[in-house]
Symmetry: C2
Subunit: 458 residues, 2 copies
């Protein structure tokens, strides 16, 4: 590695601390420890590193904020961890086009902070402080997807460094294009196995004039699901439709102080637009809540109140971890997070949730559930103290829940990706697709340098 | 071909009429004549044909409704034209999931007719009677894209027959998924070069409660463009934003009898939703029209009136052809249609349109313009009588307009695809991407059987 060190100077780091901190994400998955970390701060650093790794048959694993939940950033076969978090320039904002050009290491919070006075925002909002490059690589989404789409609908073009060192630009600044194979969408969700994303052109959206968050609580999860189903079928353009189940509410009330809420299954429903439009929709939703036995119906119509609710929702992961820590007496940083990510067709959502609740009860484990109900995507947040038997039981349960989703015509991952954690489930879900994914991988990265052994094994 | 004839019986047709009618789309592009046509009516027919072609090194060109505008269906190297229009079963509608499973030969009109009593519709609406398989293959969109997205956002999964005869299913019925490489998006816009699409799972949308179409006319196209720009930046969820320029209005008034409209640049703006929301938005738009010097402001708020406007918009191609026929004295079926398909970033739209108008004037050709203004996509509809010199001039102009779009940071094709017609422009627009597209093609279809010489040359 001496030559790489010479090439990159102090951006090359082989001390153990850096290597260890770059060898895992926010879940418990692990593999080898990286041989060294390269902290790239420009395109040229990335190209040099890729060329070096390819020429010397050294594996390379891209690393963003390290918030992955499926082991994407684990250097399974050691080699270089290529940290892009210092590539955090916001290159250009076009207010007219409502786009931002950013380096891959820009986080969504950084971009939205930068945009705060422009009346625009970037909509994709996973819970974590993720980088936008990482979000594209894992095909992320979040609470806004029901209205603004996932990252798939919000990336227009990307600059990518390919395994042969070529730098390509996958799209244009036009809002649509039919110009040949859609390579932008190929790199989204490819988890760094086909190329290293270095820049992105993303869509921004105008901040709506009026926003209200309507919340309601339910004694039966079926009622909440039935409400969502009726709501979606009106075609009303909902901004967000989020579920926190009773156990998650218990955790979130403790962590985020949600005054006035009970430990009951809860929906947060966001509506936005012109004043009359918002009023009209809020009235309609109030009726739906009453029809579906909802109670504790609240309306948050100022920014402060809304922020409390969405902060609590975004902190659901940390709330669940703190809850498990309190219950088990284990310290939070020793707790292993295993977060399921099933997404099922809307007509299978209630049955799936009930089946998952049954399996949870059978397992004896506690798993607060949060769900992007408008998309049919939900997360069981298993937080397991360092106990081998419980970890085995939790792994089994994660598998069972993936199987349930697949059996119900859905997917084992709605927004977290396959990484190391779901390779077996991708094999169950799409056995017919993996040979074609392999062909693409082999033709783009013939030496299998880029993030090897993720998504599928070669 | 005897063996193929034996395999497929009367679905195999080698009479000259069938071969000729399957050797071109709705534009003037041509190549060889197919050696035979296979009219598949089930998956098995497609698999048999693909296997036969591969084993015997015979080229295969998929054919839907034959409405392509870039020569996608032309069998450039002869071989089999695989007609999928008889695969027109609507397999399943899920009202709860708001999805339809259809065979590739179902047309959008057929699907929407079938849905007429269900309160749901399929939104992607190119002007023609296209098949949904063809629309996916060419990455089509239409007037609804500004609200509901292009076909890219409306196909959830596809069944595809691969060159090796394998039948794959690219997605699930869940509304999102991060399960490995996004093969659904890879086949969308691949123009049948990577596999033959046989079934699709598509999204449906609820028909909005209230719909109004607001129209206004302008003396200067800049004013219309300025209005659209201001409108988009409000974030108001517009259903459609269409421009017909003064020449197109002249053609459309003659063809579609648009009573009360002048031969002026015209916007059709559709708003939908709840009654109060629609009223609020209509009032806002009325103000924008006044601010931007619009006149002849009309509101079409019943189905009959709206239908007249959208029918006229969808018939813009035929109106332009009839107009050219009348002007030149040539019969409509001898007129060659060359339709540009540029799409540019919003902030370049006005300048691009003005530059295109200049080039049109310089060329001495007439080209009515229609535009999906919300997306920055516009079509110059050159309708050229059978006159060699004029055809040369028109081809040159089409090239100039593609160059203008690329120079302005846009794309030579927003929704028609590359086909035969735009190969040189794809090379100008994305020279860095073509090597990677080629690698995918070569690994998926190593014998280069499927629709050869489309998008790029090998």
């Amino acid at each position: 590695m001496e030559k790489l060190c010479t090439l990159l100077g102090d951006k090359y780091d082989d001390n153990l601390n850096a290597r260890q901190s770059h060898s895992h994400g926010e879940d418990g998955k692990s593999g080898k420890i990286a041989d060294a970390v390269v902290k790239a701060d420009c395109l040229d650093d990335v190209v040099k590193t890729v060329n070096y790794c390819r020429d010397n048959k050294i594996k390379l694993t891209p690393f963003g904020a390290g918030t992955s939940l499926e082991g994407h950033v684990v250097p399974v076969e050691a080699g270089i961890s290529l940290d892009l978090s210092a590539m955090n320039q916001i290159i250009n904002i076009s207010e007219h086009n409502m786009t931002a050009r950013v380096e891959a290491g820009v986080t969504r919070q950084q971009l939205n902070h930068f945009l705060r006075d422009k009346g625009l925002f970037f909509s994709v909002d996973p819970g974590s402080q993720a980088t936008i490059g990482g979000m594209a690589s894992t095909s992320a989404s979040g609470t806004n997807a029901v209205r603004y789409g996932t990252i798939k609908q919000n990336v227009m073009a990307m600059q990518v460094v390919m395994a042969n060192g070529a730098v390509i630009e996958t799209g244009t600044a036009a809002r649509k294009s039919s110009a040949g194979y859609d390579l932008t969408h190929l790199f989204i969700g490819a988890e760094g196995t086909l190329g290293v994303i270095t820049e992105l052109l993303v869509k921004l959206h105008p901040i709506p004039e009026h926003i209200v968050v309507i919340s309601a609580q339910f004694n039966k999860i079926n009622d909440a699901a039935q409400l969502v189903s009726e709501l979606m079928q009106t075609g009303m353009m909902m901004a967000r439709i989020e579920l926190l189940d009773a156990l998650q509410m218990e955790a979130s009330i403790a962590y985020s102080g949600l005054a006035g809420f009970d430990k009951k299954d809860t929906l947060f429903l966001e509506v936005s637009g012109g004043l009359r439009s918002v009023t009209e929709q809020s009235e309609f939703i109030a009726q739906l809540i009453a029809d579906n036995h909802g109670f504790n119906h609240k309306i948050a119509d100022n920014e402060q109140e809304r922020k409390i609710l969405w902060q609590a929702r975004h902190n659901a992961f940390y709330a669940a971890r703190a809850f498990a820590s309190r219950k088990s007496g284990a310290s939070a940083d020793t707790i292993q997070a295993m977060i399921t990510d099933s997404c099922v067709p809307p007509d299978r959502l209630v049955d799936t949730l009930l089946e998952v609740h049954d399996e949870l009860a059978k397992s004896g484990l506690q798993g607060p559930i949060v769900g992007h109900m408008g998309d049919g995507n939900f997360h069981v947040q298993l937080m397991i103290p360092n106990d081998d038997l419980m970890i085995i039981r939790a792994k089994k349960l994660v598998g069972t829940i993936s199987d349930i989703a697949i059996r119900n015509g859905g997917t084992c991952t709605g927004e977290h990706g396959i990484g190391m954690g779901k390779i077996a489930y991708l094999q169950k879900q799409h056995p017919d697709l993996i040979p074609w994914m392999r062909l693409i991988k082999q033709s783009f990265d013939p030496d299998n340098i880029l993030n090897p052994n993720k998504i599928f094994t070669l």
